[in-house]
Amino acid sequence: MTGWLGPDEWQAVALSLRVSLWATVLSLPLGILVAYALARGQFRGKQVLNGLVHLPLILPPVVTGYLLLLTFGRRGLIGGWLEEVFGLVLAFRWTGAVLAAAIMAFPLMVRAIRLAIEAVDPKLEQAAATLGASRIWVFVTITLPLILPGVITGAVLGFAKAMGEFGATITFVSNIPGQTQTLPSAIYTFLQVPGGEASALRLVGVSVGIAMAALLASELLARRAAKRVAGE
């Protein structure tokens, strides 16, 4: 590893931001859906779904990464199919980093949103239905606006987790500079090389900065949304 001067560092930062943003944006709709199903749904297999969602939180990240490699690798069940049908390769690509980050961030995201949904008074949803709103309309016009603070919190938590994801990512997509070398992998790499501490420290600073900025932004957004929701 050379070039502790900048390009490599910025490459890692930019990649991490890109991976985390995509991971958050792509998993958010599904996260809301799953959170809604877990909070309000009554179906068989609810506990199984709950367990599956939380699995990445409990499993060692390396295990998750390896499982991803097995299923989404080029010879994996889903990975092979994806490549065949869509020409989409995940393993050892930045797209794979997105998948790994999304899966690792998913439980945190779902938890936050689920709590928000559970805090919504179902009586309000009932009232909307008596006014003629179908289930989907009720969700879009009542539930979603009311859980917005929770969704923001969930998204930021997910984003932060994605930014920090290391174990599953490095196992699934390795540590290729410019391809899959995210911020944590870069820090790790710099620490392995003599004289890399300065670069590592700079990246640590960037990490802290991004995390703080995300937190502040979410706090601000969530507070504004909460104010609107409270109706005062």
Binding site: A129, T130, S134, V138, G231
Partner: protein, 367 residues
């Protein structure tokens, strides 16, 4: 438009088995708490699926257990005013009011007339000045008026109200009751109104359905049900009393208004209705004295000739006397001792001396 309900549903310790027809106007579901009133309304609204039975509105089947029909609640088009308002906290009053508009069938009015409709309803409910406020900034009474307006603007075929005034204090109730009366008299939307308050029922109801332990104990027009001596036990002697339709004859210079009821004339403290207007008066059983001859030398102004229909005694010292007075009925609560001393029995011609009359506004048959 008439609602027909015939349902069976397990309810607490007993089985709710209720059948009734609600014609136009306000049908009050009346009874103590825990008798199943809310369950009935929820079944009509579609919030609850009864075990068995059938609910129809005019010709449309809302629910039929044997046919497996249960119209989802958003398709029933019944406006529901909840006890707790349930305004959407993230929307302004205006947005709350117009929420149901987009779902309402456009057939009743041309598609683009939504704005005037909101303005109209807001005006009728006296909430025009609140339109841009968030619900959190409203008082309980204001919230409830917005809830009523919101339900109304969804252009419902019927309004369901589950104790809409129960959470409010007396002053707030007084603030809303006139609007409910206006609703009854100015729109042709039938209402199912749940209440455990006799005063509300006496003032608003066209038809009364009395629920007791999950079944219909009594059913009929407000005048008939409230002047039934058997109702006294349910209502309590303090609040039991008849309701009479009346019309304003003229206002006198000494601060009294003269009203005509079928059995004669009544004098009340000046009221704000013009001569000719119809209204409804409530005469509590405890405020009526029974006299054999027409009493003279008495300060009471309101004395009506009547004929005793029945006497109903309980275990206590009191007797409830039901009298025919013109086309209406009156109740009086007197002591058993007096009843015996006067030898009162069915058919006895008497005079009812009314100590006080309260106005339960507007006429009974308006709906």
């Amino acid at each position: 438009m008439s609602l027909s309900v015939d349902i069976t549903h397990p309810f607490g310790d007993f089985t709710l088995k209720v059948a009734f027809e609600a014609p136009g106007g306000i049908t009050a579901l009346f009874g103590q708490s825990g008798t199943g009133k809310t369950t009935v309304v929820n079944a009509v609204a579609g919030l609850l699926r009864p075990k068995a039975g059938r609910i129809t509105l005019s010709d449309e089947v809302l629910f039929d257990a044997s046919a497996g029909i249960c119209l989802p609640l958003h398709k029933r088009r019944l406006g529901y005013v909840f006890q707790d308002g349930r305004l959407f906290p993230h929307m302004s009053v205006r947005q709350n009011l117009s929420y149901g508009l987009r779902f309402a069938q456009k057939s009743t009015q041309g598609g683009t007339q939504d704005r005037p409709a909101v303005a109209e309803v807001a005006d009728m409910l006296g909430i025009t000045g609140l339109l841009e406020r968030p619900p959190g900034a409203l008082s309980g009474g204001e919230k409830q008026r917005v809830a009523i307006g919101r339900a109304l603007l969804s252009r419902p075929r019927m309004l369901l109200m589950d104790e809409p005034l129960a959470a409010l204090d007396t002053a707030r109730k007084e603030e809303i009751l006139p609007y409910l009366e206006r609703l009854r008299d100015q729109t042709d939307i039938p209402m199912l109104y749940v209440s455990h308050s006799v005063a509300e029922v006496a003032r608003l109801a066209t038809t009364v359905v009395v629920l007791e332990d999950g079944h219909v104990a009594r059913l009929g027009t407000a005048e008939r049900v409230l002047s039934d001596p058997d109702m006294v036990r349910q209502i309590g002697v303090r609040e039991a009393g008849a309701v009479l339709p009346a019309s304003v004859v003229r206002h006198h210079g000494d601060g009294l208004s003269e009203l005509s009821v079928s059995g004669g004339r009544l004098f009340l403290p000046q009221m704000d209705l013009p001569p000719g207007a119809s209204t409804r008066v409530r005469v509590l059983a405890k405020d009526v004295i029974v006299a054999l001859g027409k009493p003279t030398g008495l300060s009471a102004l309101n004395i009506l000739p009547a004929e005793i229909l029945t006497l109903r005694g309980g275990t206590g010292p009191g007797v409830i006397v039901q009298m025919q007075c013109g086309n209406d009925r009156l109740l009086a609560r007197i002591t058993r001792r007096s009843a015996d001393a006067l030898a009162l029995k069915a058919g006895t011609k008497v005079h009812a001396v009314i100590k006080s009359v309260s106005v339960a506004r507007r006429d009974v048959g308006a709906g």
